[in-house]
């Protein structure tokens, strides 16, 4: 590897790891002499400075970490904000209603009803504050159970969960037909 390749490798490793990487580990993985590493990092940072890059490499104790430049914090925040106002996906809507109409329920309940892994959808609803944890079920494994929140009620213009719209075909007759 020539120097150019070594610089590329250092960048790639720091990017992929996310967390701070110990100097010795970085030098070993990129086959760079530990003594030469600081000056190579300096080279990369100078290049970043020259072009006004949005990222830089910081030294923390004996580790290095790639991070964003502080001055771009507003744009990063704005990008998160746009994500926040994205409408719910079909899957999210479906999981939300299963929780709403049957709460409190475990993830297992949701997944068995839908027949598909729903972890990421539930995490997404938790992040949006539409559902919350409501303790654990008293069965082996003690699974977490979930219920809807005040944010949920507000988002759907409801005063309480008792005001949830009736489900179509919930009459006694229809359930009989379904079972037959």
């Amino acid at each position: 590897m020539d120097v150019k390749e070594k610089l590329g490798a250092i960048e790639a490793v720091l990017f992929a790891s996310g967390e701070p990487v110990e100097l010795f580990r970085l030098s070993e993985a990129c086959q760079v002499d530990a003594g030469a590493l600081p000056s190579m990092i300096r080279l990369i940072n100078e290049r970043y400075d020259d072009c006004g890059s949005g990222i830089c490499i910081k030294k923390l104790d004996s580790s290095y970490q790639m991070c964003t430049r502080e001055e771009f914090a507003p744009q990063i925040r704005a990008a998160l904000e746009t994500k926040r106002s994205a409408p719910l996906s079909n899957a999210a809507m479906e999981v939300l209603t299963i929780i709403a109409y049957n709460q409190p329920v475990s993830k297992g309940f949701v997944e068995n009803v839908r027949g598909i892994d729903s972890s990421s959808v539930i995490n997404n609803l938790l992040e949006k504050g539409l559902v919350e944890e409501a303790g654990r079920l008293d069965v082996p494994g003690k699974p977490l159970i979930y219920r809807t929140t005040a944010v949920f009620l507000r988002s759907f213009g409801l005063g309480s969960v008792s005001e949830l719209p009736p489900l179509p075909g919930q009459t006694a007759d229809e359930t009989n037909i379904e079972e037959s």
């Binding site: 790639a12 926040r84 106002s85 809507m93 009803v113 949006k128 988002s155 719209p165």
Partner: protein, 250 residues
């Protein structure tokens, strides 16, 4: 039974197995010789069972399908058989296309050489802020099977604690062969219907059906003209005689 020391090739499914047999025996995928294919297919199934290879129920279903097509050709008007054969050929061509495309696509896989980073942890209020009409909640529920909701509710209230993984039971043809022969050793004959009595499992029914065919093929049993009764033919010397009769009949 001779013990087999070689390891059987494992297939992704019955279509995969059929494609392999077609190429191995140089059959024309656009005009398959059903008899030959069926013969080879059953040989594989038997070997798999002898080696206790767990075969999915679909393998037995395909055996039954092939047998059905072969039988349909014996009817005076073989149009249905032609149609069924065409459908099978169509499925095989489609699946072989899929396999080729999958292989091609796999060549460009770089998924384990490109790395991405996990999102930075930034404290931000991610609370949902759009407003919807409550009616869309009921609408979103329309895809949910009420039956599975009720099942889950019952399961929960009954506190059935283990998240059971439902697995389809697979019944081996050999076990049914043994079962039928045991029945016949005692009386020498048995009513066809009694073989299926109380057998509700699809896989078990298919296995019983295949076992009867298997025993007929090897000449261990014969079937009455009205297909109602089977007779035990213990004597091996009659086997050859019967086989030649069967071959001329087909």
């Amino acid at each position: 039974m001779t013990s087999i020391s070689f390891k059987l090739e494992v297939f992704e499914g019955p279509l995969d197995l059929l494609l392999s047999l077609i190429s191995r025996h140089k059959l024309n995928i656009c005009d398959i010789e059903i008899s030959k294919l069926l013969e080879q297919y059953l040989i594989y199934i038997d070997q798999a069972q002898e080696q206790n290879l767990e075969l999915a129920g679909e393998f037995l279903e395909m055996a039954a399908r092939l047998i059905y097509i072969k039988t349909a050709y014996l009817l005076p008007r073989p149009e249905e058989a032609e149609q069924l054969k065409k459908e099978l050929e169509g499925a095989l061509i489609e699946y072989s296309l899929c396999k080729v495309a999958a292989k091609k696509l796999a060549e460009s896989f770089v998924g384990n050489s490109i790395f991405v980073r996990s999102p930075m942890h930034i404290k931000a209020d991610m609370t949902y802020r759009l407003v919807h009409d409550p009616s869309c909640l009921a609408a979103a529920y329309s895809g949910i099977s009420r039956k599975s909701v009720r099942t889950e509710m019952t399961r929960m209230s009954a506190e059935s604690k283990i998240n059971s993984v439902v697995k389809r039971r697979i019944v081996s043809v050999m076990s049914k062969v043994v079962h039928i022969l045991r029945e016949l050793y005692a009386t020498g004959e048995a009513c066809m219907d009694t073989l299926y009595k109380g057998v509700t499992d699809r896989s078990a029914r298919v296995a019983t059906f295949l076992a009867v065919l298997e025993l007929t093929k090897s000449g261990r049993i014969t079937i009455s003209d009205d297909n109602m009764t089977i007779y035990f033919k213990g004597r091996k010397d009659r086997e050859k005689q019967w086989m030649s009769r069967k071959n001329s009949a087909l």
